[in-house]
């Protein structure tokens, strides 16, 4: 018998605002947060729209010594890392665990050696400003040269430059702020990172190595380098004239992905101890499963086998059948190849039960938040499903009839059972599925 795992804290930084509640509200109300890009001059990009995160303070709500650390260190944190930290802070504060006085450990009621982190992150491209001075100094005979960089450019670099971008610094800084001395891992599995992190965090809790785990995902794709990369890969929507209607998951009129950014973190602990301390419990993780597209790095399985595998494993892990599911919150990025693979995989795994299980998704609201996706969706769903309704997929007005899934379109559908499935998958890469029981 597995140790049972409860979700007791939620944190989200994303286009719909700060916290899981604003995201859940935006989904319920069908309000898109996709806008014309303002964070950089996108006028020469083919895709000029995005879900941009608002201003936020990565030290908000923290104790004085934590605030001091964040203020001192923030210059060594790329935006991804700051968002991750902010979402982690929200999630920990949301657990209701008592915060210690200045002379105590920060969470005096827990064993800090048994608190850990698994984060889904990405290799963060350097901020271009960091290169300007050094690159200018690297000219030899009117040309940029590596010889010039080594002798003259180099000394103009920010000395801690490397640390600002390492994909394990999300977990590192979060771990320092919250004194997490248990396991700390950083998964670089693109869109699947968040749910893979949850899968691993749950296994760590089950094997008894930790009692409290943060599972997270974070990425900002809102920068000139990644916007160019995903444009070149032909993944992005160019429906620039209609930002709010641009991201159309599972819709026949889909136009591609819309760039998003953000972070999402859930706090996980043993159900028994969460109940013993009288914690608010959002839900219970019943099972998770992972697999992969084995199709090549820039495509998805056309038949959705990778997604189907993850869903089947999650059902097996949870000891459930498809008909036990009350809803699916799908990845649905609105790129045709990506959506088709996912929906075919869902249809295969859900089988005869599929027509009765409403499928929703939130990227019409947020765009694609990369590794933050799966957990942002999970966090939002724990709130928006509470009133017993499965909200529609924003902009999915003409649901793709193939394969036949119960995409929620037009208005909400009743949630028949309090158990739901969340899926993510990375193009050319990892797939993940998580099954959660909603606590109301």
């Amino acid at each position: 018998m597995h140790r049972r795992i409860a979700i007791t804290g939620l944190g989200v930084v994303g286009p719909a605002g700060l916290g899981a509640a604003p995201l859940a509200a935006a989904v319920r109300e069908g309000r898109s947060a996709v806008v014309a890009i303002t964070h950089f001059d996108a006028s020469r990009y083919s895709s000029r729209i995005a879900g941009q995160a608002p201003e936020f303070d990565p030290a908000q709500g923290l104790r004085k010594d934590q605030v001091r650390y964040v203020r001192k260190t923030v210059k060594v944190m790329a935006l991804d890392i700051q968002m991750a930290l902010a979402a982690a802070n929200q999630a920990v504060l949301d657990t209701g665990l008592p915060i210690g006085d200045a002379n105590e450990s920060v969470l005096p009621t827990i064993d800090h050696t048994r608190m850990g982190i698994v984060f889904g992150s990405s290799f963060i491209p350097t901020e271009l400003e960091d290169l300007v001075e050094p690159a200018r100094a690297s000219f030899v005979d009117g040309r940029f040269s590596l010889k010039g960089w080594g002798s003259h450019g180099f000394p103009h670099m920010f000395p801690l430059w490397l640390l600002k971008y390492l994909p394990n610094m999300h977990a590192c800084h979060t771990g320092i702020v919250w004194d997490c001395q248990g396991p700390s891992n950083s998964l670089t599995t693109s869109d699947a990172g968040g749910l893979l992190s949850l899968d691993e965090a749950v296994r760590i809790l089950r094997r008894g190595t930790a009692d409290l785990m943060l599972a997270g995902g974070a990425e900002s794709r809102m920068n000139p380098v990644l916007q160019l990369r995903y444009s070149l890969l032909d993944r992005l929507s160019t429906a620039n004239d209609d930002p709010a209607g641009a991201c159309r998951p599972f819709d026949l009129g889909r136009t591609g992905q819309v760039t998003g950014e953000g972070a999402a973190v859930v706090a996980l602990e043993a159900l028994e101890s969460a109940q013993a301390r009288g914690a608010r419990i959002y839900g219970e993780v019943l099972g998770s499963g992972t697999s992969t597209h084995a199709s090549g790095i820039n495509t998805c399985d056309p038949d959705g086998r990778g997604v189907a595998g993850a869903v089947r494993r999650a059902l097996k892990d949870a000891g459930l059948k498809p008909e036990d599911l009350g809803a699916v919150v799908a990845h649905g990025t609105a790129l045709e190849m990506h959506d088709k693979s996912e929906s075919r995989g869902l249809a295969t795994a859900l089988g005869a039960a599929a027509p009765a299980i409403p499928v929703t998704g939130i990227k019409g609201v947020t765009g694609n938040m990369g590794p933050a996706s799966g957990l942002a969706e999970l966090a939002a769903a724990l709130l928006f499903l509470k009133d017993g309704q499965v909200p529609p997929i924003l902009n999915c007005t003409r649901p793709d009839p193939e394969p036949r899934l119960a995409f929620v379109s037009g208005g909400p559908r009743p949630l028949a059972k309090d158990i739901f499935l969340v899926t993510t998958n990375a193009i050319g890469g990892q797939t993940a599925a998580v099954i959660v029981k909603l606590y109301r």
């Binding site: 271009l128 001075e133 590596l146 771990g175 700390s184 599995t189 760590i204 000139p224 790095i297």
Partner: protein, 429 residues
């Protein structure tokens, strides 16, 4: 009774050789992979040398070499190491259930076109040092290739391997700096123990021998800058005259297999993975906790998981980077956990000749533990001429040594505070 996990295949590409046996032979002979950097023009950098893979051609290891033309060295190394590991395990031709076969790789970035990045940046840079994205993209669109861009993402080695072998089990890639592949293997063991897969292809692959990699470490003054004329002397773990680590590159991948599955296949078993420990320092970005809090806890967790006592350990493969801080804290940590036995258990650092393979380091070092068990011989810490007085353990200085080796502990500690340890034992039915 929990499932047992054994190693049934190993493959590697390292600066000391393009196979397991060649790497091992050169390692025992004390040969060094450290040479002047040939991969890019580094002559004016503070550090001009690295431990490099030489004479490597991915087309010798794969049927469709054109698939990897735009891939980084990390991917190419991994394709070769993966092929060798699969062949070694008798799986290269299939004969496995793809749904029960996963991947867990500690892997770094592909290689970015640094000169184009700088030139595109300057194309958008104004007099105030701000970069206008329009200027960047105007040149970028003519310079950048979509697949080359995609290949930079660190999950590419795992994704290529999954596609190459049609693997459908759990596929993870992680990047916890220098601890990544030890952690990857440890978590892969957990995936097998929990029944998520029967087989895992696991290990690491990385090359940071590129302009931004060397720049980044030079800025942190973490890597050695000399002697430039005798670079093979630059990596000096536990030596008083050390000057930081030396960057290396390469890949080691292993086939990990559930014991009963391996027995049914009737394959050779290299060794059994019996323990894994993983913790974080939660102290500072790059400094290790001065009391070795995290490393001690990780080693203790690994030994407890393995069900062995400190005095059962015959050899420790040190993280041993050759930075003063690492060497001293690691030494202190071993003393704290092992007590008197610390002075009796040999500990060595293969980074003295291999260099630091970063995300591939831990897997490569675990491989040397497996070979030490097979051959009853310990690889040396080279360049240990004037031991640091604070480092007073038996580091197997300068010469390989015959020894009884049944149980080994392999340590990896990473920037960012991750500490990981694995315990490997001779397979006993």
């Amino acid at each position: 009774m929990r499932k047992r996990v054994v190693i049934t295949g190993m493959g590697c590409v390292t600066p000391l050789g393009l196979s397991v046996e060649e790497t091992w032979k050169n390692l025992l002979a004390g040969k060094s992979g450290i040479r002047p950097i040939a991969i890019f023009e580094a002559s004016t950098f503070p550090t001009t040398f690295a431990s490099q893979v030489a004479d490597f051609d991915v087309s010798k290891f794969t049927r469709q070499p054109e698939t990897w033309l735009k891939a980084g060295r990390n991917v190419r190394f991994a394709m070769a190491a993966g092929r060798m590991a699969m062949e070694d395990a008798g799986l290269a031709g299939g004969g496995y259930d793809p749904d029960e076969f996963g991947i867990y790789i500690g892997s770094g970035e592909g290689i970015l076109d640094f000169i184009s990045l700088c030139e595109c940046t300057l194309n958008g840079a104004g007099p105030d040092g701000k970069v206008n994205a329009s200027g960047f993209v105007e040149l970028g669109i003519t310079r950048y290739d979509p697949i080359t861009e995609l290949e930079q993402e660190p999950n590419m080695p795992a994704n290529h391997l999954a596609a190459e072998y049609g693997l459908r089990g759990p596929v993870f890639s992680n990047l916890t700096a220098c601890a990544a592949s030890t952690q990857a293997i440890g978590e892969a063991v957990d995936l097998i123990r929990t029944g998520r897969a029967d087989l895992m292809l696991s290990g690491g692959t990385h090359s940071m021998i590129h302009p931004l990699g060397v720049t980044g470490f030079n800025l942190l003054t973490a890597i050695s800058t000399g002697p430039k004329d005798e670079p093979w002397r630059a990596s000096r773990p536990f030596d008083a005259e050390r000057g930081g680590f030396v960057l290396g590159e390469g890949s080691t991948l292993m086939v990990l297999e559930e014991l009963e599955h391996a027995k049914r296949r009737g394959v050779k078993i290299w060794a059994e993975l019996i323990g894994f420990g993983t913790t974080a320092d939660a102290y500072r970005m790059t400094d290790i906790h001065p009391e070795g809090r995290g490393p001690v806890a990780a080693m203790r967790m690994a030994l407890e998981d393995a069900g062995v006592r400190p005095q059962d350990v015959h050899y420790i493969s040190a993280h041993g980077t050759g930075t003063t801080e690492n060497d001293r804290v690691e030494t202190l940590s071993v003393k704290k956990l092992f007590g008197e036995w610390a002075y009796k258990v040999p500990i060595s650092s293969v980074k003295s000749t291999l260099g630091h393979l970063i995300a591939a380091a831990g897997a490569t070092e675990l491989m040397t533990c497996v070979l030490a068990i097979r051959d009853q011989i310990l690889p040396p810490t080279m360049n240990l001429d004037h031991p640091d007085p604070e480092c007073d353990l038996d580091y197997v200085p300068n010469r390989a040594r015959r020894a009884k080796v049944e149980v080994c502990l392999s340590n990896s500690f990473g920037f960012g505070g991750q500490n990981d340890a694995l315990v490997v034992r001779r397979y006993v039915p």
